[in-house]
């Protein structure tokens, strides 16, 4: 959790309960304000802290849209300037439109709702699944022939039958 998120989480409690305005929280408010606006707080001014909390809440409130673009990104479509937007101007409708019609631009989004179904761009057709015909793989075939040949070459010789005992003929 970042310092800003921490301040947002305890903002209500900080404003309502003077007892909970600890030095630790004040330090976090100072850090968050410095981080977001570059401003410095007067250490001794207690109302300044409350004003700072409201300022932080106002800045972070902007992130309530479903979509958030990366900084510097301008989404635009050729021939339709109404579709041009940055993170400051994107609306949920525009975001939905881009998601539906230009899913390839999702790389420029930091945050977007997860689609329930896979998004298929227009002009893209999904063909019905065909029965796969298993074709002979020439490489595998060649390998098979090789192994067969090797086996033939290295074929183990049949075991010799135990030699019969020589019978010595007695000369009569």
């Amino acid at each position: 959790m970042t310092v800003v998120e921490e301040v947002v989480s305890f903002a209500r409690d900080y404003i309502n309960n003077p007892a909970n305005r600890t030095e630790e929280r004040k330090q976090k408010i100072r850090k968050a304000l410095r981080h977001l606006t570059g401003q410095f707080l007067n250490f001794g001014c207690s109302t300044c802290y409350i004003e700072a909390v409201f300022k932080i809440l106002n800045i972070t409130k902007m992130a309530s849209s479903k979509y958030e673009l990366k900084k510097g990104v301008v989404l635009q479509v050729f021939g339709d300037p109404k579709k041009t937007c940055t993170n400051a101007t994107i609306t949920d409708e525009l975001g939905d439109w881009y998601m539906k019609n230009h899913p390839e631009k999702m790389v420029f989004f930091v945050r977007y709702p997860k689609p329930q179904r896979p998004v298929i761009p227009p002009k893209v057709k999904i063909l019905p699944e065909e029965t796969k015909v298993v074709e002979a793989d020439p490489v595998a075939e060649a390998q098979g022939i090789m192994t067969e040949a090797i086996e033939q070459v290295l074929e183990p010789k049949p075991k010799r039958k135990p030699a019969k005992k020589k019978t010595v003929k007695k000369d009569d």
Partner: protein, 205 residues
């Protein structure tokens, strides 16, 4: 067969428009590590024209931080540096801070320990009906390696600065930029300003 790797393929014709020197007082500093080079795009026909500059999504968040001078106090220069075999570019940016608060000194110390890109805004905005007006306005310095702070000076007896800071950002001693500063232009000047606005830190307001 050519000796080099490139050839001249176009003409430069007379420019009847009046050039305007200098840059605006506001410059924008972006930490080098924040640049998303994968998503940033350049014109396919001209690698010196950046058509989209995207920042990474980090925590703490990446921003373009403003540094504002006063009365044309910012200066920029660029120069070709000839090495034995290759030619590279030196990007320079001189800026002045007319103050001496602990925050200013902390900013300077942080800048000394970092590398950054600088976006400058030229006073010269060329009108071009074909390619679009204002393609000469914004430039990005230090795209390849980022710039660093090479000099920082404060002289309390200086009659011009009155005890303010004079800072010089530029390339490393050895590693220079491969190309001149990139122009930054997204479709038209209004869209470019919109894109730049989306990069700015809240403290820029």
């Amino acid at each position: 067969m050519t000796i080099g790797c490139n050839q001249i393929v176009d003409c430069i014709l007379k420019n009847c428009e009046q050039l305007v020197p200098g840059i605006k007082d506001k410059a924008y500093f972006i930490n080098y590590d924040c640049i998303d080079k994968d998503l940033s795009t350049f014109d396919p026909d001209n690698s010196l024209l950046c058509t989209q500059l995207v920042l990474k999504t980090f925590s703490p968040p990446c921003y373009a931080y403003c540094v504002e001078g006063y009365n044309f106090s910012n200066e920029h220069s660029v120069a070709l540096v000839k090495k034995t075999y290759q030619k590279v570019w030196e990007h320079n940016f001189i800026f002045r801070i007319f103050d001496n608060t602990p925050e200013d000194k902390l900013w300077i110390q942080n800048a000394i320990d970092s590398r950054f890109l600088i976006i400058i805004e030229n006073n010269y905005s060329k009108e071009d009906a074909v390619e679009g007006d204002g393609r000469t306005v914004f430039e990005i310095l230090g795209w390849d390696f980022g710039l660093e702070l090479n000099a920082a000076e404060r002289n309390t007896g200086d009659e011009e600065m009155l005890g303010g800071w004079v800072l010089t950002a530029g390339c490393s001693d050895k590693l220079k930029e491969s190309l001149p500063p990139r122009s930054y232009f997204v479709t038209d000047i209004a869209t470019t300003r919109l894109a730049l606005e989306s990069l700015l830190a809240p403290c820029c307001d």
